[in-house]
Each structure stands twice: as structure tokens, then as C-alpha cells.
Symmetry: C2
Subunit: 311 residues, 2 copies
């Protein structure tokens, strides 16, 4: 049998056919065009699914189910997108029901960060582990919790908002309305902000000449020995580390996966991060050392995880 995984984003709809061994045998993507009515988006999703099945010569009879990874607040039990600001028409969308009308297979939906975590647990950086937490450092800090091989999403699918644990009570204002969330310090967005502020404070830094500041600027300067760059990176790693220690103390996962562009820094990021986390995690050396690894599957994680969510 095959399992269809759909990564529904505000820009693209990526569809993959996944086999029983979690291999993506084929994928295809179409533009979302998020400004149009949702029926049209789902219609194109169905067309894309049928197209790719034809292309890979797979019969609909060999498809067990469809899983969708979607952003926003979801009611996964009833297959409803409660609210997602990525779509013009993103409120109270009965997405599972809509798709079944166009493609008659069981449909399940899951939060995009959650299904990515499941994908990495099944086939990626956490393969072989039944208990793991994945965080993604991007515009925000996304998170997915896998307990006993299944996505943990909390009451009415409203949990696993790991980016919104507090790091500094009353600190930086977060997009969620709270002050001092982890996301406001550890996201790539926050790193850019911290880099810009450091350049303002220390105009002598080589980063002053770097033109556009992005998530790599401070890391590049630090690798060259720039004092300000080193300081920004050190603080940023501590910000990530503090949130990870919370995850360790609460969940004690077998493994933590870190996703997002920042991962490309490899051991330059992961080594000091692991040291910091293991130094302050509860119980010190009495407890097992926390493994922390970079995500491996990129966007494929969402497709594989969506396909096998609930299976």
C-alpha cells in the first residue's frame, strides 16, 4: 500500500506518495494561491494527487489514506482547520470532508510542525526512537512532540506550542501576546534582531560591513574570530539551550531534533549547545546525557509524517 502525504503551506502544496518503508516514491507541488476560496485550493490538491498517481502508475486502489500537514489552529479529531492566518479563507475549513468529496480515501490532518517531527522520528534524524521532541528555528520556534511513536498534541489539538514557553518573564514581547517567550529569543528572526543590535552597539565589528543581516551573519563573523560575532552566537546558543533544558527536564526525550536553516551551522552550533544543555539539565550526571541532532529530511519530513500520522 501507499500513503499520500500533503504539506499544505501558504505558498505551495507539496504532495508525496510514500511507501510502507517511509520512502517517498514520487512528489509534486503546485502553487497554493492562498487568496482564493478554500474549495479551489482543495480541488487543486486532489488534482495534484491524481496527477502524481498517474505519473508513477499507481492505482487509487493501492492508496490507503491521505494525511495533510497544515498550519494554524486545527481540530484534528474532526479534520477542521479552525484558523490559519496563512490563507485568506482560513477560518473553520472542514478540510478532511472537502478533500474526501474529491478523492475518496480516509483523510487526516495534523499540525505541520507535529507531522514534521513524526517524519523525522519515523525515517530521519530520530529513526528508531519512539520518544522525541523536534524544534524548528525559523520565523518562529515550532515544535513537535512524539510520545510512544505518536504525535502528542494536547486537548483539542491545542498543545505542543513549545516556542511559547517563557524564557524571561516580562521580557521581549512575543507575537502571541505574552512577554518573554522562547520564540522571541531563539527564532532565526530573533537572531537577526540580536545581530543588528550588536552591530549598532559595536560598530567596529566586521559584521558592520556585511550588508544585509541574516541568520548566518553572526555565525560567519564568529567563525572568523570576530568578538561581537562570538558574543552574539554565545548568547544565542544559551537562549536555545535554556528552552531545550526545559524540554529535557519535562519530557526527557530519547533525542532532540533541531530543524530550520540554523542547522546548517552543524557542530559549530550543536556541540556547545549539547554541552550547555547537559551542564544544566536536572540531575546532572545521574541522568542520561541528552542527545541533540540536526534534522535530516528537510521538507520531506512533513510529507512522510503527514502520510503516517495516525497510522
Amino acid at each position: 500500500m501507499y500513503y499520500i502525504g500533503v504539506d499544505l503551506g501558504g505558498t505551495n502544496i507539496a504532495v508525496g506518495i510514500v511507501d510502507e518503508n517511509y520512502n517517498i516514491v514520487g512528489k509534486k507541488s503546485v502553487k497554493t494561491i492562498s487568496s482564493r476560496p478554500f474549495e479551489e485550493i482543495v480541488h487543486d490538491m486532489a488534482v495534484c494527487i491524481r496527477d502524481i498517481l498517474t505519473q508513477y502508475d499507481i492505482s487509487e486502489d493501492d492508496v490507503a489514506s491521505v494525511g495533510i500537514g497544515a498550519p494554524g489552529s486545527l481540530d484534528t479529531e474532526n479534520g477542521i482547520m479552525v484558523y490559519a492566518n496563512n490563507f485568506k479563507d482560513g477560518t473553520d475549513i472542514h478540510i478532511s470532508e472537502m478533500l474526501r468529496k474529491e478523492f475518496d480515501k480516509p483523510v487526516r490532518i495534523g499540525n505541520d510542525a507535529n507531522v514534521a517531527a513524526l517524519g523525522e522520528a519515523l525515517a530521519g534524524a530520530a529513526k528508531g526512537h519512539k520518544n522525541c521532541v523536534m524544534i524548528t528555528l525559523g520565523t518562529g520556534v515550532g515544535g513537535g512532540i512524539i510520545i510512544d511513536g505518536k504525535i502528542y498534541e494536547g486537548y483539542r489539538s491545542a498543545g505542543a506550542e513549545i516556542g511559547h514557553i517563557v524564557l524571561i518573564k516580562g521580557g521581549e514581547k512575543c507575537t502571541c501576546g505574552r512577554y518573554g517567550c522562547w520564540e522571541a529569543y531563539a527564532s532565526a528572526t530573533a537572531l537577526v534582531k540580536q545581530t543588528k543590535a550588536a552591530i549598532d552597539r559595536h560598530p567596529e565589528t566586521i559584521m558592520s560591513k556585511s550588508g544585509t543581516v541574516n541568520g548566518r551573519t553572526a555565525f560567519e563573523a564568529a567563525r572568523k574570530g570576530d568578538k561581537t560575532g562570538l558574543e552574539v552566537v554565545k548568547n544565542y546558543i544559551e537562549y536555545i539551550g535554556e528552552g531545550l533544558i526545559d524540554i529535557v527536564n519535562v519530557f526527557r526525550p530519547e533525542i532532540i531534533i533541531i530543524g530550520g536553516g540554523i542547522c546548517n551551522e552543524g557542530d559549530y552550533l550543536l556541540k556547545p549547545l549539547k554541552e550547555y544543555v547537559n551542564k544544566y539539565a536536572y540531575g546532572g550526571k545521574l541522568n542520561p546525557e541528552q542527545e541533540i541532532v540536526a534534522a535530516r529530511l528537510g521538507n520531506d519530513a512533513g510529507i512522510i509524517g503527514a502520510a503516517f500520522n495516525g497510522i
Copy 2:
């Protein structure tokens, strides 16, 4: 059938016989005398179990199993107390095996805070809920996580240390070695410290005349309208609230239970706490309102939860 629950503390060993409906049909306790060899402690535990069975005229054949709630770091899979500072002889104690030699029934161990949470979920304040988190505000901040009706304890039983999530990075030094843990702000110990500091800052407060300062001092003053007392209570409730918001954002439990002496403040504590948590929890009104209640079973929670841990 009956299930034996044992609450093993540094001062007392409390043993209860629990029936299939989670009723404690009889209980008895003996002194732990934590300075002696652990064999002697376990021997007295077995004697206490047999005594109480005789007293209530229940045959050993009608006992299904024994569950122990114990402090410290445990290896619950193998029934080992890895380390507990409450006992002189508290390192690498094969407690399940020891007890089976004296009382031949299946024995399971669980962390004391975790089994208390399970007890409240089965028969107390969270009865009927399969997903809940309990925190206990005492000397420290203890926590227990119940997911799908079972204790969540993390890899090698080392998780659920909810008191050790960060509230203020780099803040007050915590007993665990980290800086700024929730426990360092929201425990009863922390409240006493905050109350004393407020009295020093504001000698005009009526609390100056209160003699010994304890966890009730600030609440009593606040109820009388004392400005300093009101301020201490307001800040303390925010400290509790910030940690609870983390729990809500990550777990989104159906219900949160609060245990410890502070609970006696009732709605004077719970009402503003609920308001604060629901104001800042992720997603605001889009998500279900978080229920927060006081624990109901007191020490019985640990006995009932220990008895039914893993059943």
C-alpha cells in the same frame, strides 16, 4: 481484588489497601527511620502490609499487587531507587526485588509526585480526565503528568521535573544548579523568602508584626487589604501563573491540579490565577479555557496512585 499502595517518605511509610473503585478501605503508617539500612525499612513496610491485611481481614490471595511511591531518582522499569537524599542508605536500592522477598506479589515503583497526580486523576480533583498535570507547591515545586490515563515519566524515568523549567533566565539560583527555575519563585519556600524581603523593604506592613513568617503570612495580610501583602500575593500568583502557562502551551491538559498547603487559600488564589493563565495562554479565546482546580485527596492521592500505577 485489592491493590496495596505505599507512600514511602523520609519520615513515614503510609500503607493503604485500595479496592477496585479506588477507595482506601484501610490504612496504617509506621516510622521510616531513614538512617537505617534499607533492608530494615523494607522489612517494616512488609510487616505493615501484613498487619493491615490482618486488621481488615483481607487474605493475601485477594491482593493483586503492590505499588510504591518513592522520592528521588528512580529506575521504575527495574524497580530501583537510583538515588534519594531522604535516606542515609538511598543509593542503588533494588526496592521492588527486596519487597518481593518479603511479600510475594508484583511490585512497581513510581515517583511520589507522579503517583499523586495519578491518584488525583483516578479518584480526586481530575476524576474522569485522562490528560492532566498536577503541580505541588511545597518546599519545591513537584509535578506529575498524566497522558492518556498513564504517568508520563520520560526516558529512564528522568522527566516530569516540571519545577525545573526556567522562569527568568539567569535569575534566582535553584537547588538543582540552574538559575531562574520556576521552583525558585513559585514554591512555598520561595513565597516565604519573598514575604520576608517585602517586610524588610516595607517595615510599615502589618506583616512586620506577624512573628514567624510562613506561606500564609502574605495571604492573610492581603485579605486584610495590606498593600505590601497584596503586592507579594499578586507577584507570587504571577510566578505560579507563568509556569502554568508553559504547561498549558506545551501540554494543553484537560485540567491542571494544584496541590500543597497553598491550596487552602481556595478561590482567593485560584480565581486570579486562572484569569492570568487564560489571558496569556497561546491562542487566547480560540483555544479552550484552561481549568485549574485544587487537589482533593491530600496524602491519599499518593497511596491510590501508587496502588494503580501501571495497572
